[in-house]
Symmetry: C2
Subunit: 136 residues, 2 copies
DNA sequence: TAATTTGCTTGCATTTTGCAAGTTATTTTC
DNA sequence: GAAAATAACTTGCAAAATGCAAGCAAATTA
């Protein structure tokens, strides 16, 4: 595996969070697991934002090494692997939800997508349960 | 001003949030404003994590351009400027809080700092009000 | 008036990201 | 059963972002 970004040592909880998932791609992978029910390398690769293959595999390995997701073989297809959120990964749901709320309030671009924003506002607890459960 | 990182165009609220503050430093500056009451360039520069001067000024300008913080002259010192969170910036408080909670639960390093974690758990609403008010 | 402080800028090396083109081990299709 | 397709990567290289160190001008303090 090639190198992962260096981690800071300040002890600050915000810095720990940023060291774990504070980059351009990690939370999008986690979003795909939670919101879109994606589970495999090629599903993640197909997302709208267009992550590069080497970055994707690096993030998957780093997130696995950090205990945020787990990897297992697909029992039905020997060349396929299934990624799932661990409990530590599922605990990111409130962060994802608050980002969705913030963007829902402040993203004024016409292209802004609002379905998830509406789902959060209509039933926050149900939405969180959905995010935690979608990746089992 | 030198170039700011490119923004994505997917319309996804999670991607919009990451484009706005999803890098190694932005949320640490916002933490300094909210949690530590810092307001000036040199106060941000003094934080434990050790941001470089060119990165700091770049992030301050980008966050200002994105409407997350505002810059004004210090009336008492003509070479000093005061940075403050806008309403859009203050609305990041719930995200910061959820990151603190997540790290408080999952950072097992002996060096992990817990005061803010305890403050959040003891009085979440009061803590959020403090974060929103500390930067006026 | 000589430091010192504040808020920057600049140049350059290192690290990370992004793109494109492989590669290998399975399935699928014909 | 051979050929094509698919899934999960790997590799090489260019571009962009980050990090480090040294400066610099205007305002303030000693």
């Amino acid at each position: 595996m090639d190198t992962e970004p260096k981690k800071r040592v300040s002890g600050c909880p915000v810095a720990y969070g940023l060291d774990s998932f504070g980059d351009r791609w990690s939370l999008l992978i986690i979003r795909d697991l939670m919101v879109h029910g994606k589970k495999t390398y090629s599903e993640f690769l197909g997302s709208d934002e267009g992550i590069a293959t080497n970055i994707l595999i690096n993030r998957l390995k780093t997130l696995e090494a950090d205990g945020i997701l787990s990897k297992s073989r697909d029992p039905d297809n020997r060349r396929s692997f299934t990624y799932a959120l661990t409990p530590k990964g599922k605990d990111l749901a409130p962060i994802v939800i608050e980002i969705i709320r913030w963007s829902g309030k402040h993203d004024d671009r016409p292209s802004a997508l609002k379905p998830a924003v509406r789902a959060v506002e209509e039933d926050p607890d149900g939405f969180e349960k959905r995010l935690r459960g979608a990746c089992d």
